[in-house]
């Protein structure tokens, strides 16, 4: 069943891709092939393979339970928040928070998580910024 949905999704993607390829404005100075041909070839093969997937599906994978799925979704949200807040609060604080969250969700005890998060963050900061000289996001506190 998963594969049928996946195949239909792929087919939709291929159609969308082909439609978008037709929208490309051609410049008047174009080569023989032009910018549309290659994307259209891709869209065709993409569509065909999706069709095969939908018509001859494999056995469904074992999807995680709703709880686990929410877990992953929450991690994605945490990562997005991390990306957004990184330039605002600075590397060390953002990373400590994100690492603490992830290790907590992976099974560390709450207090332990905080410690692991801070250690991860400071450790990366020391190795990558102080030793290797990588430029990391600087927050209002200067780190």
């Amino acid at each position: 069943m998963s594969d049928r949905i996946f195949g239909l999704f792929g087919l939709a993607l291929a159609i969308f891709f082909a439609w978008a390829a037709f929208q490309i404005e051609e410049s008047f100075l174009s080569d023989e092939v032009g910018p549309k041909a290659f994307p259209l070839i891709i869209a065709t093969i993409l569509g065909l393979s999706s069709l095969f997937i939908a018509l001859k599906p494999d056995a469904s994978p074992e999807w995680p339970s709703l709880g686990r799925l929410a877990e992953i979704l929450a991690a994605v949200v945490a990562m997005i928040l991390y990306a957004e807040f990184l330039p605002i609060v600075g590397f060390v604080i953002a990373t400590a928070a994100a690492a603490a969250y992830l290790t907590w969700r992976l099974g560390s005890a709450p207090l332990q998580s905080l410690i692991i998060g801070v250690c991860t963050s400071v450790g990366i900061y020391v190795i990558f910024h102080l030793v290797l000289g990588l430029s990391l996001a600087r927050g209002p506190l200067g780190f």
């Binding site: 999706s50 997937i53 992830l102 992976l106 990588l134």
Partner: protein, 512 residues
């Protein structure tokens, strides 16, 4: 003679203090990454690429660092296979079969050192194979015009899914997805924007490093979150290693095995799409057929440990041949290494050998050096690496995620790229659940632009005649191989694959 002179120059490049230091660092990190279940050579190399860039390393030093990681990971995979019975990475799958029983018999130390020696033998011969074979392949590649290159790329995609994927339609899907992603951005030939939907960040195209790190490293984090309870948590049971030198008689008994499987593994590595996992698999199967008269394979036979290890390390070296000589990688990790070269503005392929001989030969010399370092690191200091295995995934995985973020942010400094990376991470997780191989996606994003340019060049040269793609014997041959390579697995691959998959019931398909 010319060859030895080149190799001499290469050693002159590689034997600087900085390069030796990088090789050592790479070997060390690589072994750790190989040993940790969940981190394999491709995601190991992927998360280190940004590091190499931001440290401002030149092409040769970066390559030395990253190929050392690659070789190191091939060594490291065996450690957890033997001690824990969990393969540290996919190529080490077969080592579990005899390695873990040996460890249970109290011969963990012997198994580790023997497999270290086997790894050394495999990698050593493969590096020589690389030196001898790559220049010959370059001679052929110099005959290639744009049409032949286009056919060659098609061949790479057609065969890539071949052995490792379970479903050809899915690997075709993956390849097209990658190629499609590569077309995003301003068209290089006419300057019109494609698939950007007005988003300025997309005009430059998607950075393939972002895609690689997202697909390989972040998706691994999601897989761990899904299974959380961490069945891969290193059990608290004490790992006893025991004596660290195999008896001479054991080495002697295994020598013919190591030599045979080195050759076999190398060939498997050179073939497009096969890679190290197949190398170790066919090595083990062949030896089992050939020498296992008493049925001791699978119960802790030393030869069953030596065979896959020599095989996968030889395949790792073999996989570098098409990557360097043709610019078409045959496996996941070499695709990632190709990304490094492209980002450094070096075009791999036949011209690499004439235009940047220092890069090629410096790299080859570094492989020899790294291999010796690895042997030295892996036998006496194996205890150190076994301790690393005690780090539980709940601590390790956040570190992997954070290092991925740091690396990508270090390159571009943009939040947009981080968001794209998260997107790729989620996509990678879903695709792995659906058993869609990730390597063709990476290869597609990497090669998409070159492939299209070759197509358009070929047709423009011939005034718009599409049949130019199939009008030389060379390109017809390549197309024929591509078609056979795509169809063959449908017929014969099924049996092989099901056997491979039964042995290593593992989620997702990041092949080496």
């Amino acid at each position: 003679m010319e060859l030895l002179a080149n190799l001499g120059d290469g050693f002159a490049v590689a034997l600087t203090l900085q390069n030796l230091g990088l090789a050592l660092l790479g070997c060390f990190l690589g072994t750790i990454m190989g040993a940790l279940p969940g981190l394999g050579p491709s995601n190991g190399v992927a998360i280190l690429i940004p590091l190499a860039f931001t440290m401002g390393l030149g092409p040769t030093p970066s390559l030395i660092l990253l190929t050392s990681v690659y070789y190191g990971a091939m060594y490291g995979g065996r450690i957890s296979s033997i001690l824990l019975g969990i393969p540290g990475d996919e190529p080490a799958m077969m080592t579990v079969l005899d390695g873990h029983p040996m460890a249970k018999k109290g011969m963990a130390g012997e198994a580790l050192s023997l497999s270290g020696i086997a790894s050394f033998v495999g990698a050593f011969f493969a590096t020589w194979g690389l030196i001898l074979l790559a220049p010959q392949l370059v001679k052929i590649a110099l005959l290639f015009g744009p049409a032949e290159y286009f056919a060659l790329f098609a061949l790479a995609f057609a065969t890539l899914g071949g052995v490792s994927s379970t479903n050809q339609a899915k690997s075709a899907f993956a390849a097209m997805l990658g190629l499609g992603l590569a077309t995003i951005g301003v068209d290089t030939q006419t300057g019109v924007p494609r698939f950007t939907f007005g988003e300025v960040h997309l005009y430059d195209g998607l950075d393939f490093l972002v895609a690689i790190v997202g697909l390989f490293a972040l998706s691994e984090v999601f897989i761990f979150l899904e299974h959380r309870h961490g069945d891969a948590d290193a059990d608290s049971k004490k790992l006893t290693v025991g004596r660290l030198t195999p008896p001479m008689s054991m080495i002697k008994a295994c020598t013919p095995t190591m030599l045979r499987t080195s050759v076999l593994g190398f060939i498997a590595g050179v073939l497009p799409g096969a890679g190290a996992s197949l190398g170790s698999f066919i090595s083990y199967s062949m030896e089992k057929k050939l020498v296992d008269k008493k049925g001791t394979f699978g119960t802790g036979d030393p030869r069953g440990v030596a065979a896959p290890e020599a095989g996968n390390n030889a395949a790792a070296g073999g996989a570098l041949v098409p990557m360097l000589a043709l610019g078409v990688p045959g496996s996941g990790t070499t695709a990632v290494l190709l990304a490094v070269l492209l980002s450094l503005n070096i075009t791999p392929g036949p011209l690499l050998f004439t235009q940047n001989p220092d890069v090629v030969w410096g790299l080859i010399a570094a492989l020899f050096i790294a291999n010796i370092m690895l042997l030295l690191l892996n036998i006496p200091m194996v205890g150190l690496f076994t301790r690393v295995l005690m780090v539980p995934p709940r601590i390790l995985m956040p570190i992997v995620a954070m290092v991925s973020f740091v690396g990508i942010y270090g390159i571009s400094g943009s939040t947009f790229d981080l968001l794209v990376m998260i997107g790729f991470g989620v996509m990678g997780w879903v695709l792995r659940k659906l058993d869609v191989p990730l390597v063709p996606i990476i290869l597609g994003t990497l090669l998409g632009n070159t492939m299209e340019n070759n197509l358009r060049r070929a047709i423009t040269i011939d005034n718009g005649d599409w049949f130019t793609l199939v009008d030389s014997p060379l390109s017809i041959t390549l197309w024929a191989i591509a078609i056979i390579g795509f169809i063959m697995p449908l017929i014969v691959g099924r049996a092989l694959r099901s056997r491979m998959h039964r042995k290593g019931e593992d989620e997702g398909s990041i092949s080496d």
